[in-house]
């Protein structure tokens, strides 16, 4: 649609025309702000817990476990130096041998969701697939936070009141 619009504008005499090829999906997937009726509704990226503990591939499971415990979490997101999500350590993985490397203990390539996904969609998915928490990442894979099913449902209940 936008290529046609861009070409048409040029033919109408606009000399300096650009096409944002990746469009609104790319913008929203990056977690950038929008305007409009939906912009006021909380989305996955808004209520994802930004303070979720993280660790690197080369860390020890024991260290990740201690970090999680100290912060009251039962999950740790494995990221690289660019905060790109590479894996997850949930309760089962955090219970692995303390000296094991995170790289071998983690669940690789966890499914992530984009920040713009509505809470309604997230609730539906999380309940249907029995997902208690899900990492939220930008389109280039960087961690935004961990979304908890409990937070999604609480937020929706508050909205109804």
């Amino acid at each position: 649609m936008s290529p046609r619009a861009a070409w048409r504008l040029e033919s109408l005499g606009f000399a300096d025309v650009y096409e944002y090829v990746d469009g609104k999906l790319d913008w929203m997937a990056a977690g950038l702000p929008t305007e409009g009726t939906n912009a006021q509704q909380p989305r996955a990226g808004d209520i994802a817990r930004k303070d979720v503990p993280t660790c690197g591939l080369k860390d020890r499971v024991g260290d990740a476990r201690e970090r999680a415990k100290a912060q009251g979490w039962d999950a740790v997101v494995v990221v690289n130096d660019e905060r790109v999500v590479l894996g997850m350590l949930r309760s089962k993985e955090l219970a692995a041998d303390a000296d094991e490397a995170v790289e071998t203990a983690m669940r690789s390539g966890p499914g992530t969701f984009r920040p713009f996904v509505s809470l309604h969609e997230m609730a539906h998915f999380m309940i249907e697939h029995k997902v208690e928490s899900a990492p939220i990442s930008t389109s280039d894979g960087r961690l935004v936070g961990l979304l908890l099913q409990k937070d999604v449902l609480d937020s929706m209940k508050r909205k109804k009141k």
Binding site: S2, A5, E10, V17, Y20, V21, D22, L25, W27, E35
Partner: protein, 67 residues
């Protein structure tokens, strides 16, 4: 020939005064659009672009993605 740009280019050009135009239908624009975007649905480009846009400034058009 229109130039294809990415997200960073959009931000840079808008900061420099470019006009941002969403060409999707009304409901989609009303729900979510990029900050400051003007709405001219594709079918109305011919009739409305001349009155709504400044020919002296760059224009960036977008829809959902490349489709």
């Amino acid at each position: 020939m229109p130039k294809e740009i990415d997200r960073d280019d959009v931000r840079r050009l808008v900061a420099g005064g470019a006009q941002l135009v969403e060409v999707l239908p009304s409901p989609e624009y009303e729900e979510d659009h990029l900050p400051g975007a003007i709405h001219i649905p594709l079918r109305q480009i011919d009739s409305r672009a001349g009155e709504m846009l400044d020919r002296g400034r760059p224009v960036i058009v977008y829809c959902w993605d490349t489709a």
